[in-house]
């Protein structure tokens, strides 16, 4: 067994950025408040001092402008890590991401690839109300030409960025701010991880619980509760929302014959809609029951805690849903 160490999600993200900056001169971090402020969520705290303003660039409030500049720098041989403070503000940069980063390779007949990495803080659960609680994973996962990663575990927080920087094409990393202070054990010499496969985070035989992002730890927690009732749940962390790795969840369903998809995003036109459709297309005859979904309620996220909690699946909701499916 390799030696383990305890690390927060924030430390994991930060050590990946540090390592990337140390390893490759072409890498630089650009974003609002990444330097003097120390990062809106203290992820880049201290890096300005260590690497200087040439590599840790504070940028003005100009999401479309600096994201586009990151794309341009990538085109011209750099390896920028663009930090968009939160996914909410990425709406201002969406034109650059979709019309430029995602399409240049195709429009140029394969001449221009865009090796830009875009990190965004995201997630619901800090009572930030409607404009600051968006789940846009499905939005970006809709777009061919970009790779979309959901950083749902500490292992991935430590490793995904490093692999993303080796991709010839744009990569978007969704980082979950509600997990920043969360501690977990990862192997001591943890490093780069693959960014093409989903992962079985817990093996089980009774039901495949398919999720991503903050859903991963929630689902693992729910699975533990359910195991006390004798229900053996398999938890699949999708990790890569585009291009989607079907094999992992289809293999799981061939074993469990039941599936529940869990996510915070609004239900309509979501990741779970897509997963459910793929299961229907490719594993219909494996199913004992229809695919079930537990998603965000279709309402702009309200400010008060009790309403916010009611808007997205909680551990208890997952437990109850699985019970209903397995022991109706």
């Amino acid at each position: 067994m390799s030696k383990m160490k305890t690390i927060t999600y924030r430390e994991a993200l930060k050590s990946a950025i540090r390592e990337a900056l140390q390893k490759d001169e072409r890498v630089f971090l650009m974003g609002e408040d990444v330097g003097h402020y120390g990062g809106a969520f203290a992820v880049s705290k201290g890096l300005l001092k260590e690497f200087g303003p040439g590599r840790i660039m504070d940028v003005p409030l100009s999401e479309s402008g600096f994201t586009g500049a990151g794309i341009g720098a990538a085109l011209a041989g750099m390896r920028p890590i663009v930090e968009i403070m939160t996914v909410n503000f990425s709406l201002l940069a969406m034109d650059q991401i979709i019309n430029n980063a995602a399409t240049l390779l195709h429009m140029s007949g394969g001449q221009l690839n865009v090796p830009v990495v875009i990190r965004m803080g995201c997630g619901i659960g800090r009572q930030l109300a409607a404009q600051h609680s968006h789940s846009w994973e499905p939005f970006y996962a809709h777009v061919p030409g970009i790779n979309v990663l959901a950083v749902g575990t500490h292992e991935d927080a430590r490793g995904m960025l490093l692999t993303a920087l080796e991709s010839p094409d744009p990569v978007i990393l969704f980082e979950y701010t509600s997990m920043l202070n969360l501690e977990a054990e990862i192997i001591e010499d943890a490093g780069a991880v693959d960014i093409c496969k989903a992962k079985v985070r817990r093996e089980g035989i009774d039901l495949s619980l398919i999720t991503y992002g903050t859903g991963v730890y929630k689902s693992l927690e729910a699975a533990e509760v359910l195991s006390k009732d004798g229900m053996d749940i398999e938890v699949i962390d999708l990790r890569v929302l585009r291009p989607l790795d079907e094999e992992t969840f289809l293999t799981s369903i061939a074993k469990t014959h039941k599936a529940l998809v869990v996510e915070d995003a609004w239900k309509s036109v979501s990741i779970s809609s897509e997963i459910s459709a793929r299961i229907m297309e490719k594993a219909f005859f494996e199913l004992d029951l229809p695919v079930e979904r537990l998603c965000g309620v279709e309402v702009p996220i309200p400010y008060p805690k009790h309403l916010e909690d009611a808007s997205v699946p909680q551990v208890q909701d997952i437990v109850e849903k699985v019970r209903k499916i397995l022991k109706p």
């Binding site: 909410n88 503000f89 109300a129 008060p304 309403l307």
Partner: protein
Amino acid sequence: MKKTQSKSKFPVSKAEGKRLLHQMQLIRRFEEKSAEVYTETKIRGFLHLYVGEEAVAVGVMQALKEEDYILSTYREHGHALARGMDPGAIMAEMYGKVEGCAMGRGGSMHLFDKNIHFYGGNAIVGGHLPMAVGMALASKKQGKKNVTCCFFGEGAAAEGEFHESMNLAALWDAPVLFLCENNLYAMGTALEYTHSEQQLEKKGPTYGIETATVNGMDLLEVMKAAQKAVDYIRETGKPYFLVCYTYRFRAHSMFDAELYRDKAEVEEWKKQDPIPQFKKYLLKEQLITEKEIASLEEAVEKEVAAAVDFAENGTWEPIEDLCRFVYSENQEP
């Protein structure tokens, strides 16, 4: 800092002087109380305080009429209070209670009150500027004489939406007051790192917009500058850009460790605190007595305490109502 020099002070009567001081004091104490209840976890999410910048909200609001429209940012408690929004309704909103000015749905960053034409509370930096242009455009099309006043920070002036809005307002002769509160920092990033031209007032004339600057720490100066701006807009129907030089005394939000500025700099600015400055002026002009100040402060304490009580005694919205206000309940257009 660029200062607009002026000889004559804006004239205020005794009653007016007291009312103005009361408003600034109310904002100050309301904000300090909010920070307190935040640490008791009664308020959650983001909380951006206006302490230090009171003279801007109070000064500008004096020039506006009942029918004028106001749009603001997430740092809007001061604007809302100065506009006359009920402190209890604001506090209840921040508690997330139904009695809040937006039924608790919005919280600190999203104060709304249509009755007093207070259109939020926008948490996307620069997001409200185009809407302000549109509201002013509507006034123009409807032949109304009202002004739309849009508050925003200097950080927002780097966003494309600022530039697009300035251009549109000038192009369409939309009666908007672009009110920039330049407190020198966008979160933790100083002006020098975010603007190639730090004299933001230079940006107005390039769009053909009448522009002025004012010392935002001096209430009477702000009143005078705002009155001039609003008079111009009402007369010409054209936009106006007013840059107020100000400073926030507290952190950007409750999550900010303030690594980016010196304590000494903050202390230096505190010497220009608009509230003691204005008190001094009123005393010197014999428009108020020490005793009156004391009783005014006491009254403010009571008002703030009443706001907290109101919020404490408020009610939670039932979870069954979660999906309200996604589409209009009243289907009349």
